[in-house]
């Protein structure tokens, strides 16, 4: 980072600090009832208290667990199904349009069906999260597999590569930019659905924590939970970017 960029960064942090100070001022002057709006000081204190008592850690762990399991299941299934559909022209003509039709369906609408089948359980939450997160990954994989340069398949044929080798050495790496973009979208979906499922089913996690805090009008705890959810969203997306950057290093000079 050069000097000017650093100065801008510092200035930008200063502006953010200014907004936090403004928030503190509003809270101190009680322009908004403290029942709804705690100051940043109280939110921070609640965050620290939650961490030191271990409460927030376990809620955070719960949310991360739901998110991770659902997302990983969706990734594995989405890539596998997407690869099967994407690598066959027949499957693409017969199956892909149905999937395109289902895509704009608000995935949360599947929650009542999942509840009816599985009850208010952990299994229901994982099903819903995986179901919601699978779409972007699966559709991106189909697209990626369909868009593999045909010349590369000819190279593979002239090398007499096995079907498995073609999938792992040609098609998957070629589709990887699409697949990773789909996985990144799915990460956001997984976090949102984790929170919704925790709220609905009362599962241990930050979603449940913020709802309980709201019901008890513990606004400081509520804000602490929301802040933590924001941090979760930020950290997971940064981690995903880093992974993408590493895995797609070969694309860097191509862009």
């Amino acid at each position: 980072m050069n000097r000017t960029a650093l100065i801008w960064r510092v200035a930008s942090f200063a502006v953010a600090a200014g907004f936090i100070a403004l928030w503190q001022l509003i809270a101190n002057l009680k322009l908004v009832s403290p029942v709804f709006l705690p100051g940043p000081d109280r939110a921070w204190a609640a965050l620290m208290r939650g961490f030191s008592s271990g409460d927030l850690w376990s809620k955070l762990a719960g949310t991360l667990e739901h998110m991770a399991y659902g997302w990983l299941a969706a990734s594995i299934a989405g890539i596998a199904i997407g690869a099967i559909i994407g690598s066959s022209r027949t499957m693409r003509t017969y199956v892909a349009p149905s999937l395109e039709f289902l895509r704009p369906l608000p995935v949360s609408a599947i929650i009542p069906v999942a509840i009816a089948m599985l009850g208010l359980t952990q299994a229901m939450a994982l099903f819903v999260i995986a179901f919601g997160a699978i779409w972007p990954i699966m559709l991106a994989t189909i697209h990626g597999f369909a868009a593999v340069e045909p010349r590369l398949y000819e190279v593979a044929r002239s090398l007499q590569m096995s079907r498995l080798a073609v999938i792992f050495k040609i098609a998957l790496p070629s589709a990887s930019p699409d697949i990773l973009a789909g996985m990144r979208l799915s990460l956001t979906v997984a976090l949102i659905l984790s929170v919704v499922c925790e709220i609905l089913a009362g599962l241990d996690g930050l979603g449940h924590w913020v709802l309980l805090s709201a019901r008890a009008f513990r606004s400081a705890d509520l804000f602490a939970g929301v802040i933590l959810l924001g941090v979760t969203g930020y950290v997971t997306s940064v981690a995903m970017s880093l992974a993408e950057h590493r895995l797609l290093a070969w694309q860097a000079s191509q862009r």
């Binding site: 590369l152 000819e154 002239s158 090398l159």
Partner: protein, 267 residues
């Protein structure tokens, strides 16, 4: 020199052709692209195919590669019918940018052919280095194709094809997209690589000078549908040289003959 002598001997040999087209017809989507093409390529021969665009020269090459199956007639390789592509036939595509794996380095791209050939992991690095040196890319092993010039990418594709240790090398206008200087350099390199390996070559080009300069024999195709219109034996001394070969009276005579033929097909 020894290999050149061996080469001449191989060409003059009247043994069974390595690749034989026997009355080959190919129709795609109701259109006949190649009709009743018969052609034999002897082991070690360097055959060039020229013709106006749309005459089916690339299609003929893809038939020889086994990427297409003829709708009539037969394509034989070493006396056996070609049912599918085989590893001892390597093909160098014109669009090198599409035929290389962008996510693999130069070394990785060469390695693909070695992996397909089942070479043990431990033996690959030495072989890769040797191949990259052969095509004039030493020290570029870690580069991605996108970091290389067009000429370097085409060299890399040739290295991958050599890694197949092919009996036959099929080249589809390999230098068509390169500038004149790079092209001449690569022509000479291909000649010496082929002389060293003793591979049979079918080389498709639209550049008549290139065809005469490289080939032992030049075939001109007529379009709609593709069939043989002219066949010339090139009796120019080897090794060939960019200056003296191109000034050789025989070169100029063949060039004239080929130009007249192409001109006639275009009318």
């Amino acid at each position: 020199m020894a290999s050149a002598a061996k080469r001449l001997e191989a060409v003059s040999d009247t043994a069974t052709p390595q690749i034989a087209f026997d009355g080959v017809t190919l129709a795609l989507g109701g259109k006949t692209i190649i009709e009743n093409l018969s052609l034999g390529v002897r082991p070690g021969e360097f055959l060039c195919i020229v013709g106006a665009s749309g005459c089916g020269k690339t299609t003929a090459l893809r038939l020889a590669a086994g990427l297409y199956q003829p709708t009539g007639g037969r394509v034989n390789f070493d006396g056996q019918p070609m049912r599918e592509p085989r590893r001892e036939i390597a093909i160098v595509f014109q669009d090198y940018g599409k035929a290389l794996l962008p996510w693999r380095t130069a070394a990785g791209n060469v390695s693909l052919a070695l992996e397909a050939g089942g070479m043990p992991t431990a033996e690959r690095p030495a072989r890769i280095e040797e191949l990259l040196r052969t095509v004039g890319l030493p020290g570029h092993a870690g580069k991605y194709p996108s970091e290389m010039s067009g000429g370097m990418q085409q060299r890399l594709q040739i290295a991958r094809c050599l890694a197949q240790e092919p009996k036959t090398l099929l080249m589809d206008e390999p230098f068509g997209a390169l500038d004149a200087m790079t092209r001449q350099g690569l022509q000479d390199e291909v000649l010496s690589l082929v002389a060293a390996s003793g591979a049979t070559v079918i080389f498709v080009t639209h550049d008549l000078d290139e065809a005469i300069y490289l080939g032992d024999r030049v075939i001109g195709l007529l379009p709609h549908p593709g069939r043989i219109g002219i066949e010339l034996s090139v009796n120019l001394p080897r090794p060939r040289d960019q200056l003296s070969t191109r000034e050789h009276p025989e070169f100029l005579r063949l060039r004239r003959q080929l130009f007249d033929f192409i001109k006639a097909t275009e009318q």
